[in-house]
């Protein structure tokens, strides 16, 4: 590659990275800004974080989000791991379609179809339960894909070797299959957790008036006005997801890569 073209590649790439990061940096910066307007730098303050921690609604929404993310990621990890193993082991036709389609479709479709289903068919009052079910439904596919990718990269004869050397199917799973897919399962669980805690669209349709999550709270705040309190909560959330990503890359370095 000639140096001129290489310089061109570098220049555009740096511009793209800048495009990705500058807006987020501005959000973080203004969260410490001593001004009501996100317009110019006035001075350093932690006031917005203080306001945030006294905002009962926001705290409640945060607690809801965490609770939903924990339960939804636990259940979807269990179901998704089973689905991933089943899709790899058996020649299934229906399950892969059922599990992967919600991942590939625009989220709004799953949101509105679940809304109709909950209200019209199950006669359910929208709330915590409906949001949980909805989150599990779209997370299962992600976990299944990660687990299946992990299995697909493995030499199939390993599992036969275990049987051959005297292990029952259950022992084979416990001693060979499970330890080998564990990094994929953990990565899938972390992914499910992040997806659930971040989800806005599906939650928007299935939460009703019963329950508020953090993204719903943020949405209603920025819909009305831009206030530095949103910057503060955004900064905190970014720190949290950053932590989760670092954790994921430590626990399962290849799982992250294979997913991309």
């Amino acid at each position: 590659m000639s140096t001129r073209r290489s310089a061109l590649l570098w220049a555009t790439s740096i511009a793209v990275y800048a495009f990705l990061y500058i807006p987020l940096a501005v959000v973080v910066l203004y969260s410490f800004n001593d001004s009501r307007l996100n317009a110019e730098w006035v001075g350093f303050t932690l006031d917005w974080y203080r306001t945030l921690f006294h905002d009962e609604e926001m705290l409640q929404a945060g607690a809801n989000s965490l609770m939903i993310a924990f339960v939804a990621s636990a259940v979807s990890t269990l179901l998704g791991t089973m689905a991933g193993i089943a899709m790899h082991r058996f020649k299934l036709r229906v399950l892969p379609v059922l599990v992967v389609t919600p991942v590939a479709m625009p989220e709004i479709l799953l949101g509105v179809s679940l809304l109709i289903f909950f209200v019209q068919v199950l006669n359910l009052t929208l709330g915590l339960f409906s949001v949980l079910i909805a989150h599990i439904t779209f997370c299962v596919g992600f976990v299944a894909i990660v687990v299946r990718a992990r299995l697909a990269g493995m030499d199939e004869s390993i599992f036969e070797a275990a049987r051959d050397l005297g292990a029952t199917p259950w022992q084979t799973f416990r001693l060979v299959t499970f330890p080998l897919i564990l990094p994929g399962v953990i990565a899938g669980a972390l992914m499910a957790f992040t997806l659930s805690i971040d989800d806005f669209v599906i939650t928007f349709f299935t939460a009703g008036v019963g329950v508020h999550t953090l993204p719903l709270q943020i949405y209603s705040m920025i819909k009305i006005a831009v206030t530095p309190e949103v910057n503060a909560v955004s900064t905190l959330l970014m720190t949290l997801t950053l932590g989760l990503i670092i954790l994921a890359s430590r626990l399962a370095p290849d799982a992250l890569r294979s997913e991309s």
Binding site: E160, A161, D164, L165, G166, A167, Q171, L175, V176, L180
Partner: protein, 363 residues
């Protein structure tokens, strides 16, 4: 009684018949080889012996008892996989200990037998290493130790040397022979390499399109192939169209195209008038300038011209064209250093072979 008996086993995958009515017996202590080109059904047969697949028809018996319905983990049969299939998350020691753990052997005993098994494959170092830290040859040894440690009745080896480079492969062949002799476990070996099969086995079953073409000792397989497939698959051989002229108890007399009358070893069952191929190995054909002189009587002689030659170091193969255009190969050891060939292209030569060599094939 045979250790393993395979009775008329058939296995189909859709329209494709992978194993088509195979029957054979493997004796205790034997080094038995299934040899054939890829897709001949040898691996399918091996998987059925291991228990990963079931025959559609027929039966497999171990010590006279049917293996039907016995899952792989309950068969006293272990496999060395082509890819070795070492557990990537377990160390060398843990891999070798795996079958003993499954059999609930006492920990102290496990420790002792793992060391013994590793010593038998000359791999006492690197015990705590994970499989990905080992070389191909070392992985191979771990797989062998793991397969042997619990002393199975039968050890199946699925092309275990395929992934090794040529030099290492030869070393491992010698080791495999010695190992089998020392542990006294019956080996069933699967390979597509005729050289490997000839070097290692007590007996070889040559398979083609799901059927056993011939089952014999290596030297008989090489010396007396039963049909064209076997003759062609094992070693190099000259094939000439021929007709049986006379069939006696001491000789078989043939009319060979381009050569004329040829005497061969007796094949009393072959009726006069049968058409087929006369097959003779290049190293059994003597070659000389003008005429071949020899101590013994060489009953079969024919004139020709050198067409081409191939120098491979220890020997040179000469391609000779007979007067009617038929081509024959003859092989000469290179006894004189620094000389690639004894003849030039176009040289008139004589080819000769004794009445004790060659075989007439009617199939």
């Amino acid at each position: 009684m045979a250790l393993l008996e395979i009775r008329n086993v058939v296995r189909r995958f859709g329209d494709f018949t992978a194993v088509d009515g195979v029957s054979l017996e493997v004796a205790s202590g034997e080094f038995f080889t299934l040899l054939g080109p890829s897709g001949c059904g040898k691996t399918t047969l091996l998987r059925m012996i291991a228990g990963f697949d079931d025959p559609d028809q027929g039966d497999l018996l171990l010590d006279g008892k049917s293996l039907r319905d016995i899952p792989p983990e309950q068969r006293p049969i272990h496999t060395v996989f082509q890819s070795y299939a070492l557990f990537p998350h377990l160390s060398v020691v843990e891999n070798v200990a795996f079958p003993l753990r499954m059999a609930k052997v006492a920990p102290a005993e496990i420790q002792r037998r793992v060391q013994e098994a590793l010593a038998s494959v000359h791999l006492s170092e690197k015990q705590r290493h994970l499989p990905h830290e080992l070389s191909g040859g070392q992985k191979q040894r771990v797989a062998l130790a793991r397969g042997l440690v619990n002393r199975p009745r039968l050890l199946l080896l699925d092309e275990p040397l395929g992934a090794l480079d040529a030099k290492l492969r030869e070393e491992m062949q010698v080791e495999l022979i010695n190992l089998q002799k020392n542990v006294g476990i019956t080996f069933v070996f699967v390979t597509h390499s005729q050289a490997e099969a000839l070097a290692l086995s007590h007996r070889i079953a040559v398979m083609n399109q799901g059927k056993v073409e011939q089952l014999d000792e290596p030297s008989r397989l090489y010396g007396f192939p039963r049909n064209r497939f076997v003759a062609d698959f094992i070693g190099k051989i000259n094939m000439l169209a021929a007709t049986v002229v006379a069939s006696g108890s001491d000789h078989l007399e043939l009319d060979v195209a381009g050569v004329g009358r040829v005497l061969g070893p007796p094949q009393p069952a072959m009726p006069v008038g049968t058409r087929g191929q006369f097959a003779v190995r290049p190293e059994q054909v003597r070659i000389g300038a003008g005429s071949v002189d020899s101590a013994g009587p060489l009953s079969n002689r024919v004139k020709g011209r050198i067409l081409d030659f191939l120098y491979v170091g220890d020997v040179t193969t000469y391609l000779v064209e007979l007067e009617n255009g038929t081509r024959l190969e003859a092989l000469l050891p290179n006894s004189a250093p620094g000389r690639a060939k004894f003849f030039e292209t176009g040289d008139p030569v004589e080819l000769a072979w004794s009445a004790e060599v060659g075989v007439f094939l009617d199939a």
